[in-house]
């Protein structure tokens, strides 16, 4: 866990304004991945839905 000295150091470095670059990069990658996920699910893309399909002998389990 963070000590008081580390917290002070964090405070000193966090006096910088604006969102850190790594957060922005994370956010961009995250948005791209969410879009890919949504597109894949909407397009079908060989993936099945979350409900049980009727592939197996045409019978529901």
């Amino acid at each position: 866990m963070q000590t008081k000295e580390e917290l002070k150091t964090t405070h000193d470095s966090n006096r910088d304004t604006g969102t850190p670059r790594w957060v922005k990069v994370f956010g961009i990658i995250g948005i791209i991945l969410v879009l890919v996920f949504v597109i894949l699910h909407l397009a079908g893309g060989g993936f099945h839905g979350h409900t049980a399909p009727m592939e197996h002998g045409g019978q529901q389990p």
């Binding site: 866990m1 470095s13 993936f47 099945h48 409900t51 197996h56």
Partner: protein
Amino acid sequence: MSMSPALRKFALTAHVTASVGWFGAVASFLALAVAGLTSQNPQIVRAAYLAMGLTAWWVIVPVSLASPLTGIIQSLGTEWGLFRHYWVLIKFVITIPATIILLLHMKPIGHLARVVAETTLARGELSGMRIQLVANAAAALVVLLIATALSIYKPRGMTRYGKTRQRESMQ
């Protein structure tokens, strides 16, 4: 709300155990999913999907709930907070959807387990679902790895809310 050092350690132990346990369980799940998808041996395929059903319900679901829960408890009980530091906030943001997506995928996992319990899965049968389980497990592993890395490295950066709270506490 601040926890005593002893309680803080207990909460941290619970959180690390649940989180790393979640990672290990998903890694095992992925290995089983790959085996179920690729093996030519019907017995291995059967065993894999049966094991995946058991593992998912009895290990992965509990730790996937325990991990964010203990994380929230721990963050609120320490100076880190839940919304003050970006690394904590991002962990929270990526872990909650991972838990939700897991719970949504319990149906196909259970379905496959029931199918192989009753009969032999033909090659290529339910392939879409089987491929999806591999893909989702792999994606979950990446998310959990990122969360673990964030926990260790704790990259610097306070949110606007965190900076405001810090200014208030300094006054």
